[in-house]
């Protein structure tokens, strides 16, 4: 293990510090250990409150889910922008170069999740993803949108 890499235990402890209402545990599965954190987040005072889950195992990208309320697809769209289909839809919060295992989930993935939800709600309302992101993805989404904005 890379010496500067944060261990699952360390990640868990820092989650407790920054997100005291979250329930975090280390699960031992067939593929090894993974950290599972669950809790509620409400990005802004007028945002909905979301029950979310983060899973992380050393050597892979952290993965996130919105457990409730279920993510919704806007009428006329075939998918939610900036999500992964596999095991999801799962919000896709970052590009590979944005994250490395020396970073803390508590202060990177967690705030990115909050930001993503703000843009998701705004997209649900207007059909416009205003949080930017990978440009190719953006173009793709725009093409599949049947909506013509004035």
């Amino acid at each position: 293990m890379n010496a500067r890499e944060r261990s699952l235990v360390y990640q868990l402890e820092l989650m407790k510090v920054h997100h005291p209402t979250f329930r975090c545990r280390i699960v031992h599965g067939i593929k090894g250990e993974r950290l599972v954190c669950q809790g509620n987040i409400q990005p802004t005072p007028i945002s909905d409150s979301y029950g979310v889950r983060i899973e992380y195992s050393i050597g892979s990208r952290p993965r996130v889910w919105v457990d409730r309320p279920k993510l919704r697809i806007r009428d006329g769209w075939d998918r939610i922008p900036h999500t992964f289909r596999e095991g999801g839809p799962r919000p896709c919060l970052f590009e590979n170069q944005d994250w490395n295992p020396r970073m803390l989930l508590a202060t990177s993935v967690m705030p990115w999740f909050l930001l993503w939800l703000v843009f998701y709600e705004s997209w649900l309302a207007t059909g416009e993803w205003q949080g930017e992101g990978h440009p190719e993805r953006e173009a793709k989404v725009a093409e599949t949108s049947p909506e013509v904005r004035p």
Binding site: T44, D48, C92, M103, S108, P111, L114, F119, S122, G133
Partner: protein, 380 residues
């Protein structure tokens, strides 16, 4: 200053943005002010009118700052007064009207665009705009009160009118009260009105009331309160709130306490004592009943709006209240607030709360956690 501790403040940013969308555009403003100017010049250059030193000035929602864009492709209208300086005995209402009308018709551009209406003269401009000009004479030299023609133009309407006085009264009601000693622990210090450079909250609130009236009385326009009555009620009930949402709630609850179920009250024109702006309610009791229901419904919907969570649900409620035609006012308002949020995010102004699971403005939360840069991604 984009994320605030209270939902009310956050919602207010969105409603404020909606008011901006409902307001006349810069272009519409310029069009209107040029129209007043050009017409004024044209009238003063007339030898027949010279003895009366004619002057044209705007009246109504444009100088009040309460104009809203018309619904469904209707034209926006600007109102103006053409004041002829003379004595009551020296010029009859019909002579005044004819003098102004014929002078306007002499103008090459106006000739085919003039419409003689009951008391006013309408000039239809290219595009989506018309100007209604009402000829008037001063009541006396000491006040801003004027006489305007009676409905049949057989004489000067004895009930008089005072648009400049009304404007002065309305603007005097705009003062924002600073609330001291009421700062909540989780809220930031009382901010100056966010819109000080734009419009005072009273003007914004009057805009919301007017738009809501247009929507609510869509199928019964004959029952709708006139703008001057609505504007007077709103300005009377306003208590200096710095947020348009608070102002609107204050007005709604004050009106609820003030308007008797038993029958319509008198509403004096603050700039023209003796004129009951609510006489329509006395003449048609259905109109008063409809107004009471309008108020109760508006209040219930505003209260419901405050309790909603989720931008999409809030946008739906705002559309129902102010833009049921789906003209895009709410979408554009929300896009503009989300764009401001994104700008703040890029500039590093958005941070994560030290208490955990929400976002805050870095400027207002000292212990907030800065957010590393990220780009949202996703698969094909």
């Amino acid at each position: 200053m984009l994320i605030h501790a209270t939902a009310n403040r956050q919602l207010d940013l969105l409603i404020e943005a909606l008011c901006v969308q409902l307001s006349l555009t810069e272009t519409q403003h310029t069009t209107a002010s040029r129209a007043y100017q050009t017409l004024g010049d044209w009238l003063s250059e007339s030898t027949l009118l010279t003895p009366y030193a004619p002057s044209v000035y705007p009246q109504g929602s444009i100088p009040l700052g309460t104009a809203v864009k018309p619904r469904r492709g209707l034209e926006f209208d600007a109102d103006g007064v053409c004041l002829l300086t003379t004595r009551y005995e020296s010029l009859t209402a019909s002579a005044a009207y004819d003098l102004v009308l014929s002078r306007i018709r002499e103008h090459g551009t106006y000739r085919d665009k003039v419409e003689a209406r009951e008391r006013c003269i309408r000039i239809n401009y290219e595009g989506d705009f018309h100007l209604d000009i009402i000829p008037a004479i001063p009541v006396d030299a000491a006040s801003t009160r004027i006489f305007i023609p009676s409905h049949d133009r057989s004489g000067w309407d004895p009930s008089m009118s005072n648009p400049k006085g009304f404007e002065a009264w309305f603007h005097s009601r705009e003062t924002v009260q600073r609330v001291l000693g009421s700062v909540r622990a989780d809220a930031e210090p009382m901010p100056p009105p966010t819109n000080s450079a734009e419009k005072p909250p009273l003007q914004r609130s009057a805009q919301l009331f007017k738009r809501r009236r247009d929507v609510y009385f869509d199928h019964h326009p004959e029952l709708a309160p006139k703008s001057i009555l609505l504007t007077t009620l709103v300005a009377n009930a306003y208590r200096g709130q710095s947020l348009v949402t608070d102002a609107t709630e204050q007005v709604l609850s004050t009106l609820g306490a003030l308007l008797p179920e038993s029958g319509p009250p008198r509403v004096d024109n603050p700039s023209n004592p003796g004129e009951n702006l609510a006489r329509h309610w006395t003449e048609d009791r259905r109109a008063y009943g409809a107004f009471l229901r309008f108020r109760a419904d508006f209040q219930a919907k505003m209260t419901g709006l405050q309790q909603l969570r989720g931008l999409d649900k809030i946008a739906d409620a705002l559309r129902e209240l102010f833009d049921p035609d789906g003209a895009g006012f709410v979408d554009r308002a929300l896009s503009s607030t989300t764009a401001s949020f994104q700008k703040a995010r890029v500039e590093g102004e958005v941070a994560m709360s030290p208490r955990g699971s929400n976002l805050v403005s870095r400027a207002t939360a000292a212990a907030a956690t800065a957010i590393p840069r990220n780009s949202f991604f996703g698969d094909e």
